[in-house]
Amino acid sequence: MSQPLCPHCGQPNPADAEYCAHCGTLLRLPPEPEEAAQETPPQESESGPSEEDLLAQQPWLQPEELAPPPEMEVPPDQPWLRPEQEEADAVRPPRQTPQRQLTGLQGLLEPADLSWAGLEPSLATPPSPELADPQLRELRGAFREDVHLADPPAQAPGGGAALARRPWIYWLLLILMGGGIFLGFPPGQEEPHAWPGLLEAHAAIEALPEESLVLVDWSYDPATAGEMDLVALGVFEHLVERRARFLVVSQLPGGPASARRLIQRASGRLRGAGIREAIPLVSEGGYLPGGPASLPLLGQAPGAGVPVNIQGQPAQVDPILRALQVERPALALVVAAQSEDVRRWLEQVQPLNQAPVIAVTSAAADPALRPYWDSGQIQGLVSGFDGGIRYRQLLNRPLLPQEERLLGWQLTGQGMGFIVLVILVILGNLAGLLSGEEERS
């Protein structure tokens, strides 16, 4: 049997796979009825285009990536794995079309498949003849979304394709950053930059009347807590101080527990600063699965979206849940490590409940949210370590010793990270020059 090759990455896949197991590209597109009746290229096998076709359509594919896949062994006790055993209704006539993926910066960001966006006609046009195959391979490699780590740096620097494992870079970063933090160099400046949107977020929370109802979407978990705790802590301190009543929900399994810890820290800090009444008025709505398809519940019928809190108590027992059924939230706070989660809220909840939104996000999410900030859909935006530190400075409260240490490390570490990046960019460009990369410019 032949296994279809992925038109994007060239890897073999099981015959019945819908999506490539290596890069996620859609492998099969059912033919339009007319097409199915008219066009069946004789050389194209049922499981996809032949190797020659793929190379003709996409000459930038590495020949070794198109090497014939090893025959899949079918165990004798699993005869159903043989394709001929598949039932007729389970087999749709496969047709592979070259997929086009718009990826982020050389695979560092989420890829977006544009093949369905009406771009197929331009795909049919061969790549620009000015670019030779090796260059196209380079481009394709640079924009592939799956970052492979190969133990030996098999390619020459700048050789395109996969991101090679380079232990010397890891050690350089680790040693310089560790050394910088240990020696306190570069010195951390007290006031990092306040990006636009931060002061507006502070003003919006400051203007909240006491005991305002705030709906919180908690979209980060321990994976990004190292940065996000830093950003969100000041905002939650402020909310607790303003005696806001908040309901916290999350669409991540690790979200509710992360929220519990941070809110506990925020109120602990306030009590440590002598604000005795800093008991958070919080109700935990817990985990809401379903992604964007269940989010509209929070906008149009929060009572149905969160009928009970995480302890299983209904609205009759939980006053915040009850309040949410009769009054519109004064504010929605989206605490997210990715811009996608904020966008989801703005698309699925805000049009329904019209509550103003403040986004508390990772630095990485900030630029992608700027259009929403500009259009007024986001009222305030606090992002990154700099946003978090500046927000806490606005609260004008002394830091605990261990917090002071962590903030000092952040300020110094960011400086050292910048120095390492400058070194690496210079070395990378030199390596590119030495290997003749400038010809490809």
Binding site: L109, G254, G286, P292, Q377
Partner: protein, 261 residues
């Protein structure tokens, strides 16, 4: 450890600190080389995360929202106040659909030979399609409606408002026009940047517009990279801080110093 584990014996907390530290070291060792300790920690993390998610779904989603109202009519009545639909629709149908989803899914996992029980297979498959179709259809509907209401309409209106002089314009008219040009150029580049239509005749003017959009997108990519770097460096610094704290808490620091002496 956090105050949420205070009810456990102190030994558990000590054990937790050491376990977390050791697992973190194992994972960090991936930097040196792909090794079995790093993979061991990954498998433990995957197992624990999946188990935790399973508990969360059962205890936080299915039990209180579905099973409890079905088993305890009084609770059902309380929750019913916030719903406008009868219990059959609110709970029984999703329960049945959920069970169908499981049966269909298990059938797909089991993959029995076609000769045995083919008709039952078909029936299970048919019934399993219903909940899947419901999920897909709803996802499709909210995706389209949300994109229009939350992104396309407000962003388009804002972009259009920036191009017109008047009260809507937040900055100077020139900035508004520049913004409109860049937005249009970026959209044009993404949509038709490689089209041959832009390579001849009046299309060349559009090509110039797309050229501006492409440069702006490159600049934006650089900016995103820099902010992404800040985000990831923050995570690394927080982790280094965690290692330093744990070295002190576990007493490993003193032990290491003693060994060095």
């Amino acid at each position: 450890m956090t105050p949420f584990t205070a009810a456990l014996p102190p030994l558990w907390n000590d054990l937790g600190v050491i376990l977390g530290f050791v697992l973190s070291l194992f994972l960090f060792s991936y930097l040196l080389k792909e090794n079995v300790l790093a993979r061991l920690a990954q498998y433990i993390l995957a197992g624990a995360s999946l188990g935790y998610a399973g508990v969360l779904i059962v205890k936080n989603v299915l039990a209180p929202r579905l099973l409890a109202p079905l088993l305890a009519p009084r609770l059902a009545l309380q929750i019913q106040e916030s719903l406008a639909t009868p219990p059959l629709l609110s709970w029984w149908i999703p329960l049945i659909l959920g069970l169908l989803l499981w049966l269909g899914g298990i059938e797909a996992m089991r993959r029995p030979p076609a000769a045995q029980g083919a008709s039952l297979r078909k029936l299970l498959r048919l019934l399993g399609v219903l909940p899947v179709a419901l999920l897909l259809g709803t996802g499709l509907g909210v995706g389209i409606a949300g994109a229009i209401q939350g992104t396309l309409a407000p962003q388009f209106l804002r972009a259009a408002a920036l191009g017109l002089p008047g009260e809507e314009v937040a900055g100077p008219v020139l900035t508004g026009l520049l913004t409109l040009i860049v937005t249009g150029g970026a959209l044009l580049h993404l949509r038709a940047g490689e089209s041959r239509l832009l390579q001849r005749g009046p299309g060349r003017l559009l090509a110039g517009w797309a050229w501006i959009g492409q440069r702006a997108l490159w600049l934006a990519a650089g900016l995103i990279f820099a902010r992404l770097l800040a985000a990831r460096l923050s995570l690394l610094i927080a982790q280094l801080n965690y290692f330093a704290t744990q070295l002190q808490e576990t007493g490993l620091w003193q032990w290491l110093l003693a060994q060095l002496r």
